[in-house]
Structures are given as C-alpha cells and as structure tokens.
C-alpha cells in the first residue's frame, strides 16, 4: 500500500522505468495501480537504436511484474515523509 500511495503522489513527474528485460523507458507518470502497473505518457526509449520497434510508441502500459527499477529525479522525493511512512507501516505490520 505504501508504494502505491507513494507513486500516486509522483503522478505527473518524469520518470525512467527500467524493465527486467533491460529496456529503459522515460516518460511522464500518468497512473499507477495496486499491482504497481505503470502507465507512461510521452515515452521515449533510453537506447533507441537497440529497440527500434519502440520508435512510434508514445504512451504505454507497463505490467508491474516486469519492472526492475523506477528512476526518479532526486528532488522529486520527500525522503523524510517516506521515512515516516515506512516506520509507521513497519509498526502497524
């Protein structure tokens, strides 16, 4: 629940999603769900030459199960807030 809420606060930010198949996609976070599926808009692939089939893809839905990393701008994160939330979650769980 914590990361779902966390990602909901990041909607509208530029993120780079790195997938388990090594594909990295940069785009604007449009939405996220309980499975941490991600919808990105205005997407471009980080290494375009390696993945030519993605050239014309502008929006995509990424299944949560295939995500390795979600890279965020360093100032896009309120670390203290996250810290508190994690502590609260740990206490409650």
């Amino acid at each position: 629940m914590l990361f779902f809420s966390y990602f909901k606060d990041l909607v509208g930010q530029e993120v780079t999603v790195e997938l388990k198949n090594d594909l990295a996609i940069r785009g604007t976070l449009h939405s996220v769900d309980q499975y941490l599926n991600i919808k990105l808009e205005n997407t471009r692939v980080v290494d375009q030459d390696k993945f030519p089939h993605m050239l014309s893809v502008r929006n995509c839905f990424i299944r949560g199960s295939v995500v390795r990393y979600v890279q965020l701008p360093p100032d896009g994160v309120d670390v203290d807030l996250l810290h508190d939330a994690a502590r609260r979650e740990a206490r409650g769980g």
Binding site: L55, S56, R58, F61
Partner: protein
C-alpha cells in the same frame, strides 16, 4: 501533501480501457512483438488482440507474420504500447519492409 490510500483507492487500476479498439504493440517476455487491435482485457492484463501479427525485426528490416485472433495470457505481457497517429511513418522509414 501526501494522499494516503482510502478504502475506495484500493480498487483503483491503471486501465487499459483507453487502448480499446486501437492498434497496439504488445511486447512479450520472450522478446516477441505482437501488433493488433485491442478488443478486450482484464485485471491480469490478459488481452484479446484482433488481426494480430508478429513483427520480426532483423537489423534494419522487418516482416509481419499474420496471426489472426489472439488471446494473450497476462503473465507474458511486458508492455502494451500505443503510438500517435501517423507515427508509424517515422518507424517505417527507419526499417525496410521485407516480404
């Protein structure tokens, strides 16, 4: 500032509804690229693709293998992509079609 999930938010999902009846690209875990019209989906990202074809790309050349009506099991789906209109011409000019 932060909005913690209320009971109604738990059932929020990133919907594929906006892709319905559109031409989409589906990347599968085995590396295959399927293209077709999305006709149906569910919470597991299972999908029904009408007029599906597999796009095989080798270097600068590509070829489409027609497949017909496909039901894709969600666990194999990596990504479902949708492009803006006319964007495929940018793609086609990069790759050459081979029969």
């Amino acid at each position: 500032m932060s909005s913690w999930a209320g009971p109604e938010d738990i059932y929020l999902s990133t919907s594929l509804a906006s892709y319905l009846d559109r031409k989409i690209l589906v990347l599968l875990r085995d590396g295959r690229k399927l293209m077709g019209t999305l006709r149906s989906f569910d919470q597991f990202a299972n999908a029904v693709l009408e007029g599906a074809c597999e796009r095989v790309i080798v270097g600068e050349q590509y070829c489409d293998i027609p497949l017909g009506l496909y039901v894709i099991r969600g666990e194999n789906v990596v990504l479902i992509g949708h492009g803006e209109r006319g964007a495929s011409s940018k793609y086609d000019s990069r790759l050459r079609d081979r029969d």
